[in-house]
Symmetry: C2
Subunit: 198 residues, 2 copies
């Protein structure tokens, strides 16, 4: 099975969005360069530095399935069934949005039996490729359950003060990280990947 | 005048210590190598990697005076008058600890007129050298007052969840940081320095 990797842009104080889900300046790096990256759905493209584009393409090339929470699903309206990365995604939810599921085909899968089932379903879909886990509540649950291999942080030089945390609801003592295996400095972001120590 | 630089080890979620002031594993990097660094007071020495030792020596070589808060002063008992870095320090406090001041000579200075006066006093002492500001409340006040030139973070791959923040009590919107000018990866720490945008 492929690795399970949590991933998100985060502020220097560990937040992935404001309380109202506004990312503030956390996504500035998506428009910090002139390399156009075309996506599978809205936004149709963004513009990275060469360094960030190479990192992004490598990440997208590795990922076979994503796991997201119901909040992100609702905010994005499930990307209308097509995630910008062009990969299938598993939504962990208490209740399957039946109407939405009937109206959209394809790449969305729903799991109601908890985080372990969601990761397992994503791993079935991903095969040997990476399962990407959205930061926040879902990443927190996956970390707490010992299901995460690596923590990827796109570290952005901003301070949010409050908001949604990358490590939401995790017992910090349960998160043991090794030294970063990736530290790539780019414009408005430093891409970092930390292995989870078991 | 020299630059004003805040500095501290911080977790991935932006904390510089637990609520009870215990640094947890934030200081693991001080014993992560075999290069002995001798200090001016307790602890008499620590042991860094070559990479961290070079960074540390460069930092210590630049600093002409430190500004610390009363909490840190009390926790350390004012380092008995001699900071490990061997430099003078200004303590921002509501009340000068007269008894302590009489019992210890030398390197401690007390300022009661607020953060601007404390930084100004430190700059007088430092001359062209750097004024180092301890993270936490003092760094927050200095940032909020627009007195900080650079934010140095020794980023440690741990999560604290709660505790004392690097950017304590700062309006986050007031903190505008540029891309890091320093990103040095070492064992149990990544040394980063961010310029403050004015």
């Amino acid at each position: 099975m492929g690795k399970v990797i949590t991933s998100a842009s985060a502020s220097l104080d560990g937040f992935v969005a404001h309380e109202n889900n506004d990312p503030g300046r956390l996504f500035d790096w998506y428009e910090a360069g002139d390399v156009e990256v075309v996506t599978a759905s809205e936004p149709a493209a963004f513009h990275l530095t060469r360094t960030s584009a190479d990192y992004w393409q490598s990440w997208v090339g590795d990922v076979g399935c994503l796991v997201v929470g119901r909040l992100l699903f609702d905010i994005t309206d499930g990307w209308q069934g097509e995630h910008p990365m062009g990969v299938p995604f598993v939504v962990l939810t208490h209740e399957v949005p039946t109407e939405w599921a009937h109206a959209h085909t394809g790449n969305a899968h729903f799991v109601t039996e908890g985080i372990e089932a969601a990761i397992a379903r994503a791993q079935e879909i991903a095969g040997d490729r990476v399962v990407g886990v959205a930061a926040g509540t879902i990443a927190g649950q996956a970390l707490a359950a010992g299901l995460v291999d690596e923590v990827a942080i796109d570290l952005v030089p901003v301070v949010l003060g409050t908001g949604h945390r990358y490590f939401e609801g995790v017992d910090p003592a349960a998160v043991r990280l090794g030294d970063p295996t990736v530290v790539i400095q780019s414009a408005r972001v430093t891409h970092m990947v930390f292995p989870v120590e078991r």
